[in-house]
Symmetry: C2
Subunit: 649 residues, 2 copies
């Protein structure tokens, strides 16, 4: 089914299997395999439901891992009781973006309140990536490669407390590109941690396409064996095979255990299954994001058919299916799409700069690199999920005359290869880093993906200029600056979420180091910030303050996160009663701290109040997240009026 067909119809009806059906199946005296097949068929329906209802999630990897999770929870994990989540054997997924599958399993078993299934990626609901506040979630994951290390720590603590438990860790296969995976293998062998079983959900597709095409894993079994692990391999959708493989690993004591489970990404939905989907389209479209209305209708019909047929085959009564209407999608707005603008600017600049080389860490689509790769395949380096390797490669390229531009999500790019970026900077070469998905929005993926610490993590690096554009035209200007306007390296911080801007920058907008742009005039109060939604909210807040409180508020777009022209700053705030800095970031180490410390340097007696994050960002819809952290328009108005002592007329 082509994309165009998928777009033709609409429906707002969603389907899920209620808890009572799970209970009936459980109590029906089925064989283990029949029960598992029934359970997994129900779980698949509910996985798709929760993702569709949230309008976001990772369907492909959930569907590939459902059978593995099912078999572990039905046959291996001991001591499961809703009253004491910490008392059971331990299971967690290191890749983490399969959380909806785990939630569907846990709700199906009555271990997690069933009602929660309706609140995936909502404030107070189930986090987009695993969070330990949820019962039976053993570890916060979502940033990749940490699982085996965490499992070792848990095993050692359990041994210290003489409370050994089995520990099952699910990993992705793309995730195995992370160095930490290999770093973590040795001591598990040395310490004989045979309570740890790692299962690779080997669905052979990572974010964009085949693992084999991104960064081949080679002979996985041989690799893990060479590190001293006990290794088995089986079909990860065949419960009998899973059982045999696990049983075989259990006979070998004294060594940690690893099972390569061959699975199919998107398993159970014909057009989401890896080989089918990648025959239709060169990019795998069901890694992240909810299916649209038509795709949901078709997929849920398939999954419901299987659930019904399985129920029937094993002799259960007719399956009860509950429905839920979801609110319609919001109407499309004209928004600034910074990643799209970046994508175009990159191609334009690449034509002017033959030495420009692009590096990607398995996010070719999300980082806006498809066009570049298409036009300059010889200058495109796909590194896989290997940020440290990517950044040090960029360093080597720069040392030999190339201008490398390295990409990932801001949360990973600023932290995972943090020392490698510093090392490159110490060589005084020019490397451009581009981190997309910057800031607290979108709110659905949760804190592992909400990059609100990247300014702090990078701002002290010498020879590295941090820039956050707010508009498409500013993205292009920023990239031009990085290439032609400075000898320093730079970090481009890109908000990925499209957002309508209530102001416009001139089409010939260019950047001057350390200097901002006034986007709304006003003489009493100055708001300074960067990025599209934050400045848009600041603008609307300024309008409200003018209208409701008669306060004249100037709004400044300052795309420079670690550079500031003091003369410009003093001119800009001169005569104001109060300055507010706005950070799409923690207050510590953000842009506001830079501005405030400059004001203090000059002993200007205008108070500078910093507005931004003061705690771990919550997971939820964009509106929920902004409201919670006081970064929506009403929140900004409240913060300003509170500081000014203004009372509404």
């Amino acid at each position: 089914m082509g994309e165009s067909q998928l777009d033709q119809v609409e429906s707002d009806e969603l389907f899920y299997i209620p808890l009572e059906c799970f209970q009936i199946a459980r109590q029906a005296g089925l064989t283990q395999v029949d029960y598992a097949e029934t359970f997994a068929a129900y779980v698949r329906v509910n996985v798709l439901y929760s993702i569709a209802r949230a309008w976001s999630g990772h369907p492909g990897t959930c569907l590939s891992s459902v059978d593995i999770m099912t078999w572990l929870f039905l046959t291996r994990i001991q001591g499961l009781t809703a009253d004491f989540p910490d008392g059971s054997d331990i299971f967690f997924s290191s890749k983490g973006h399969d959380a909806p599958a785990l939630y569907a399993v846990l709700t199906g078993l009555g271990l997690l309140e069933f009602e929660q299934l309706h609140h995936l990626r909502r404030l107070g609901g189930l986090a987009g990536h695993p969070h330990v506040e949820t019962p039976f979630i053993q570890a916060n994951t979502g940033s990749l490669g940490m699982g085996i290390s965490k499992a070792k720590g848990m095993a050692l603590a359990n041994r210290l407390h003489e409370a050994p438990k089995r520990i099952y860790v699910l990993t992705g296969d793309g995730e195995l590109q992370e160095g930490q995976i290999w770093e973590s293998l040795a001591s598990a062998v040395e310490l004989g941690l045979d309570e740890i079983t790692v299962i690779v959900d080997h669905n052979k597709i990572q974010s964009d396409t085949w693992v084999e095409d991104v960064s081949p894993l080679g002979n996985l079994d041989a690799k893990f064996r060479s590190f001293g692990w006990q290794v088995e391999r089986c079909d990860g959708h065949d419960f009998a095979a899973l059982d045999t493989a696990l049983a075989s690993l259990e006979t070998a004591t004294g060594r940690p255990r690893l099972l390569v489970a061959d699975t199919v990404k998107g398993k159970g939905v014909s057009f989401m299954e890896g080989p089918v989907a990648l025959a239709e389209n060169p990019l795998y479209l069901f890694h992240s994001g909810a299916p649209n209305e038509v795709a949901y209708a078709k997929a849920s019909a398939e999954l419901l058919d299987v659930a019904r047929a399985t129920s029937q085959r094993v002799g259960l009564n007719e399956l009860k299916i509950d429905t839920m209407r979801r609110p319609p999608r919001k109407p499309a707005l004209v928004v600034e799409r910074l990643v799209n603008a970046y994508s175009q600017a990159l191609v334009t600049e690449a034509e002017r700069h033959p030495e420009l080389v692009v590096l990607d860490a398995d996010l070719v689509k999300d980082c806006g690199l498809l066009e570049f790769r298409e036009q300059f395949p010889g200058r495109f380096i796909e590194c896989g999920i290997a940020e440290q390797d990517m950044v040090s490669q960029a360093g080597g390229l720069a040392r030999r005359g190339a201008i490398p531009v390295a990409h990932s999500f801001a949360c990973f790019l600023s932290t995972r290869p943090n020392e490698q970026i510093y090392n490159n900077a110490s060589e005084a070469t020019k490397v451009i880093y581009v981190g997309s998905l910057a800031g607290v929005l979108p709110g659905g993926p949760g804190h592992s993906h909400q990059s609100v610490r990247d300014i702090s993590a990078l701002s002290a690096i010498p020879n590295l200029v941090l820039i956050e554009p707010c508009a498409e035209v500013e993205v292009a200007a920023a990239l031009t600056f990085c290439l032609d306007g400075t000898d320093e390296s730079s970090y481009l911080r890109l908000v990925s979420l499209g957002w309508p801007l209530p102001f416009q920058l001139p089409s010939d907008h260019s950047l001057q180091l350390g200097i901002g742009t006034e986007v709304r005039p006003g003489h009493e109060v100055v708001l300074i910030g960067a990025g599209p939604w934050l400045l848009a909210n600041a603008f609307h807040a300024a309008e409200a303050l003018q209208r409701d409180h008669n306060v004249a508020v100037k709004v400044i777009d300052l795309p420079w996160l670690n550079r500031l022209d003091p003369d410009w700053l003093l001119d800009t705030i001169r005569g104001a009663r109060h300055v507010f800095t706005l950070d799409n970031h923690y207050l510590d180490g953000g842009q506001g701290q830079m501005i405030a410390s400059r004001v203090a340097e000059h002993a200007v007696s205008i108070p500078v109040t910093r507005i931004g994050l003061t705690e771990l960002p919550v997971c939820g819809t964009n509106e929920e997240v902004l409201a919670h952290h006081g970064l929506d328009v009403p929140g900004l108005v409240r913060a300003v009026t509170a500081s000014l002592g203004v009372v509404a007329p």
Copy 2:
């Protein structure tokens, strides 16, 4: 020879082989192997010389790698000419602490000014770890595991420019514990980068002791083969064997090449050679640090004997040996030794906290963990050079009821596992991180080890309190605070260098969150900082300002790097003309920015001038480094008087 004997005699005479002897050997028409043996024998003398003269360096790893470097430079690396350092084939060491060996090779070949040999680890001389400002240094290294990635980047740039060169990367064996090594292997195979040859200097000893006892590497050949590399193995001190192994690798095209060279750490000096040294002492004493006077005398005598005998055997005239007197060691002072104090405090606290578990990343001696390991072996986890793995293990331990305390040098601990620390913090467990070797001193190792970015890199992490004590008594108080005074995680920033303090904190000193201690009274100017040498210099500067300029200067020890009590701050600075913040750190993201931004928040019209690093720290003696960056006593006096407009009377 025991430590006690080594301490008995003194000498200030150092020996080196002058350039002319290298030239004579080169022009003597020797066989390749005879020339190499002569060259390497001379190089060993000069390696020991330069380290002894610098009073610091890494003798063991230099001596193990000399023969490998010799053979590569004499037979493999093409295009070596002093006029065009970038034109040759590429060699660099990924471990980097063997830089003195490379310098001795380069000076011996006339590729690097011979005079520089006398200026190891001096300002304007040869950096402690490789720096690209030095001719023929191809990459900044010293932080481990980046070499293969960098080589790949260089190879790809060379291919783009159609200027392929051979690239030789030397790694350590302990270094192979870093995940980035394994992360970097796949694409080299996929891209067929056969211009890259990696040579493992497999001397089998890492910082403290045998690799096998720290974190065994297992079957190295099998591991690298399982990743698809072409692998050979040979005796790394046998030139003929090296030649055969390299030649064999050269016949296999299309795949990257790896040679495991079996070597002996400290090769050539009897008592430094690994098996001998570790039979004498459970810790390998010649990893870092210069040999003392007696050890130097004995070691140089052995190396000179070999150099003379080799010259004679190959038929050269009598060897000329030059001498140099080095300045005597400085007299020992009574100093605050924070790491020693930490070591004791840790043991004391461990007795009170049975759930306290210590994790180490191959720095058991430098992090002060010997006593703990001795007393609590069951609660000590040696992780090897695997900081990401260590930190995520700590996260797992904390999730299961232990209180993990994770250690490394501050430069590595704050950056390498930066995302892992954030991930742990997101779980709201308690983990204590202890980073030693914090700050710009000692100045000898250079910027890879000068941790002046750790506050910035960590300060925004929620639930993580950063603390930098200045005195032994404050170290103990800080550790008590971390364990009993807070539910948050913490980072203890420890300056390792012993330093005499001109003030004393009370023996019952305790810490109150966000509040500092006045260590010198004064009402006109306030200096605020943390850590021993910075506060000592501030104190002396205050005395000088009082004496020479009649300015009354208050000095405040503020051990809190990301927490500040605003009321205390406002009280402390009230009535002052000027506030100066002092950072043993870059200005961006340092403690001073936190203080200044609080002052701005309250619109206090006292200027806040921030003093700290504004550029990559230089390498040199401690005095040179402080003077260069204006952080010595005269520098601080200058900065204050300049800001105050004070003229000396």
